[in-house]
């Protein structure tokens, strides 16, 4: 209709182009660095997460080595970390700062960025048939803010150990003074930050007086999280708007791939939970630097000094704010993995997903219930025992939608014709690990049983399996699955298998023994277990876990090699190498700048039409018109006048 209006001046149109039709940029910086193309941003997120995951992984191996061989001197470690590991032996504060950094990097910069910021950014617009995100510039901003957050976080581990911050700029300048004041005059001379990824006050609020690792590092740690919150909020805003506004013709909500549902649910969770963490972070920073008393009570005696500057705050308040965010965060990490798993299981089982609607409702139920269970992290925090009961019942009821998902995955495999490709193996691994890790939530979610299990290695085993490695398996599945579309080449299949088997066995060997260590009573966040005799019988398990961890960690190098090698040397991929049905496989590999070459696809059916009786192939693309119509005109494109219907489909006739 717009064609009918005479246009004396095309300015408005140009603007429109800027928003949705931005032409492919030519300069290197606009194309690869400050790109507003969701596909480039998605890959940027993935690379950021890839860097972060290896940093986090190395940290976990260092921690395991310290726990297993506490007295051994590692010369290399000593020369790398002169303050943290003098003489090659790790100090407890260095161990604890590794704990903190490992948790924070993994939760925020891997589990939150890769599945959502990475794969979601790349594939949500394509899977719903859009040309880009609703707000491309905002999208670019959210990535670069995330990047700044990561830089600030990584710097946190360095400032404490050295005076690096004060030498780089003129110490008398106003900025230097402000920075020095903000960072409490630099580091505390040891390493840090120490506080775990949960950063409970008053430890995190008191500053240097609370011991090593409580100085500038903690300030930077909180700052980084606050920055990350802002970035995630911008991202979530973009995802929700894009999904609601930009679905292509025919893409009814209930025809969307389950990946899109999972990114949508995740974005809603992020949108409603990150503001709360941001609020908590601001209050914590104010307690540290503005002399307020939100979390710091009066009458404290720290390091034998009476603190008179604070009164009346409550450390529990932080826990409420933190876990109100923290529990939905768990689902932010795992839901996209569930989406990818459902998607990939159905594709390689060559069967429609079992109970599509139930999957969607279960996902929303998990998300919704996730907002009402934060108290199960706080049963023994000093919170009212009555509210603990309510939280407990709600927590166990999350098991119901989780079980529905598991049934449906099994149902999808039932009567299937499974193709055991590498992404399929990781997706099956996801199901297995999700069950193994999630099910112990039934133990921890009971107030009574938490009395003993809280903060032991049982908890570590539980959440590492379910939100750690299960989510990582979801990412691996997604990476092997979508790699050809993203980079135009296939990943090496043999290396993929070699990567999968030790990883799958390895993660079980690492995290199942942690459960029984927890039964014995092993507390988490201990730099050494040598002090306690009741832990002696767990020592063989400690060794087993460490060896499994080292092997598993080295196996990941195979993936790293495969990833970079395949980008350049992998065999060229066709448009639809997996014979999948959704929109990303209808466009070229890799997709053009505007995703569909100027003509948006039209969708005729749900996302998982495999094994359709009487159909020519065992899969029917979402863009394939109905059989009757297709029979009338072999060329479906001409018939509908819609353009790119069945692009990839044609490629397979």
């Amino acid at each position: 209709m717009s064609e009918a209006v005479p246009v004396p001046e095309a300015h408005a149109d140009v603007e429109h182009h800027a928003a949705h039709h931005h032409g492919p940029p030519t300069s290197f910086i606009r194309k690869y660095i400050f790109s507003i193309d969701h596909k480039v941003i998605g890959i940027q997120y993935l690379l950021l997460a890839l860097f972060s995951v290896f940093v986090g992984l190395i940290m976990s191996v260092l921690m395991r080595m310290n726990l297993t061989w506490p007295d051994h001197k590692w010369p290399l470690l000593g020369s790398l970390f002169k303050v943290g590991a003098p003489g090659g032996q790790m100090s407890p504060e260095f161990y604890l700062s590794l704990v903190t950094m490992h948790g924070t990097i993994m939760v925020f910069f891997v589990l939150t960025t890769a599945p959502q910021g990475g794969f979601g950014n790349y594939f949500l617009p394509i899977q719903i048939g859009a040309e880009d995100m609703a707000f491309p510039v905002l999208n670019m901003l959210s990535f670069w803010i995330t990047f700044v957050g990561l830089v600030v976080l990584v710097s946190a581990i360095f400032v404490e150990g050295s005076a690096a911050f004060s030498v780089s700029i003129n110490p008398n300048s106003a900025i230097a003074k402000w920075v020095a004041k903000y960072l409490e005059g630099g580091g505390s001379g040891t390493v840090g930050p120490i506080g775990g990824w949960t950063g409970y006050p008053t430890l995190s609020a008191l500053g240097k007086i609370a011991g090593p690792g409580q100085g500038a590092g903690v300030t930077l740690w909180i700052t980084s999280i606050a920055i990350f919150c802002v970035a995630s909020l911008l991202g979530a805003l973009n995802f929700i708007t894009t999904l609601l506004n930009m679905r292509t013709r025919g893409m009814a909500l209930m025809r969307m791939p389950l990946t899109c549902w999972s990114w949508f649910t995740t974005a809603i969770l992020a949108l409603l939970s990150f503001p709360v963490l941001l609020a908590g972070g601001i209050l914590l920073l104010l307690d540290r630097h503005a002399g307020t008393s939100f979390f710091i009570p009066g009458g404290l005696v720290v390091s034998d000094k009476l603190l008179t500057s604070h009164a009346g705050g409550s450390p529990i308040l932080w826990q409420h704010l933190f876990w109100f965010f923290g529990h939905p965060e768990v689902y932010i990490a795992i839901l996209p993995g569930m989406g990818a798993t459902s998607h990939i299981l159905s594709t390689f089982a060559r069967k429609p997903i079992f109970g599509y609607r139930a999957m969607v409702f279960a996902m929303f139920a998990i998300g919704l219930l996730g907002f009402f269970v934060w108290g199960h992290h706080m049963f023994i925090s000093g919170m009212s025992p009555y509210s603990g009961m309510a939280f407990s019942v709600l927590t166990l009821s999350i098991g119901v939608p989780s079980a529905i998902k598991t049934f449906n995955w099994l149902g999808t495999l039932w009567g299937a014709r499974i193709r055991f490709t590498v992404p399929m193996l990781f997706a099956i691994g996801f199901v297995s690990l999700f069950v193994a890790g999630g099910i112990t939530g039934l133990v921890l979610g009971q107030t009574s049983l938490d009395l003993s299990m809280h903060d032991t290695y049982f908890v570590l085993g539980h959440f590492h399996l379910v939100m750690g490695v299960a989510a990582i398996f979801g990412m691996f599945a997604g990476m092997y699955f979508w790699f050809p579309k993203m980079f135009g080449r296939m990943m090496n299949q043999t290396l993929g298998y070699i990567h999968f088997w030790p990883t799958f066995i390895g993660v079980y060997a690492i995290f199942i023994p942690m459960h029984v260590m927890g039964l014995v009573g092993m507390p988490r966040r201990y730099a050494s277990f040598a002090e306690y005799q009741f832990l002696t019988k767990t020592h063989p398990l400690v060794m087993l876990v460490t060896i499994a961890a080292i092997i598993t960690a080295f196996t990941q190098l195979i993936f790293l090699f495969n990833f970079f090698w395949s980008i350049f040397k992998g065999p060229k991929a066709s448009d639809n190498p997996w014979e999948a049905t959704t929109l990303e496989w209808t466009t070229t590999t890799p997709p053009p700048h505007d995703n569909f070459g100027g003509k948006l696809p039209t969708v005729y059916r749900g996302a998982y039409e495999f094994a359709v009786p009487d159909a020519p192939d065992d899969y029917v693309m979402q863009t394939t018109p109905d059989a009757t119509e297709a029979n009338v005109a072999a060329d479906g494109d001409g018939h509908t006048g819609q353009g790119s219907t069945g692009n990839g489909h044609d490629g397979h006739h």
Partner: protein, 234 residues
């Protein structure tokens, strides 16, 4: 276009289908009601600005959660024994009046734009902007009054929360002011260059105004809520 008609009737029959399993060789459907082309097949890319309205709602949800977190922290803290409530500066009533009136003037402007009365639109937009700035000035003066009384940020929990909530609201309102400035700048530019807009561009203009308007009214409501909280929750 006959195609479109058939697809829509079939979409209805699809809704009636029961069962958890979904898919199958479905009849065609057109679920992407807001999708590109907006129902016409001309191949245009008229998203018609809906993303601004949706985006504004989503933004409001996020900001709301942010303040819900602070106010629940406030209520939590207010239940502790050492909580003392201070007398609030009277100037806050002036602030409240200013921002309430600014919402009304904005609405006048928005309706003028709907009618296509651009001069009136610009006038009332400017008035809203002035009132918004007036609100911020009034808030700053209220801060200065408290400071003059020796009430600082860390003085006591109430003062901490007072400065924090008013300050954060002010920062968010500043975002709204930037939105108003942007609308005004565009309106003035259009007027100066005597632009005749395409229909889609007009729709985009209106959507932007709606989005800024939603945020602005939300800031207004948020302030009333915060003010009431500080006044009555003790």
């Amino acid at each position: 276009m006959g195609m479109t008609a058939t697809t829509e009737t079939r979409a209805h029959s699809a809704v009636k289908d029961k069962g958890l399993g979904f898919g199958g060789p479905r009849p065609n459907g057109n679920g992407g009601r807001r999708g590109p082309n907006g129902g016409d097949d001309s191949g245009g890319t008229g998203y018609e600005g809906a993303q601004f309205r949706i985006g504004a709602w989503v933004l409001v949800a996020a900001v709301l959660m942010f303040f819900v977190a602070f106010t629940s922290a406030y209520m939590f803290r207010a239940s502790m024994s050492d909580f003392v409530v201070l007398k609030l500066p009277r100037l806050l009533w002036l602030s409240t009046t200013l921002i309430l009136v600014s919402s009304v003037t904005f609405e006048v402007a928005r309706r003028a734009q709907r009618r296509g009365d651009d001069a009136i639109y610009r006038l009332w937009l400017a008035v809203s902007l002035a009132l918004g700035c007036g609100f911020l000035v009034s808030q700053l003066l209220a801060w200065r009054q408290l400071v003059a009384q020796g009430v600082y940020f860390p003085t006591n929990p109430f003062s901490s929360f007072f400065y924090l909530l008013t300050g954060l609201h002010g920062i968010h309102l500043l975002g709204g002011i930037l939105g108003l400035v942007y609308l005004l700048w565009r309106a003035l530019r259009d007027a100066r260059e005597l632009r005749e807009l395409r229909e889609s561009a007009t729709k985009k203009r209106r959507a932007l105004t709606d989005a800024v308007g939603l945020y602005w009214h939300f800031m207004d409501g948020l302030w009333v809520y915060l003010f009431a909280l500080l006044l009555f929750w003790r």
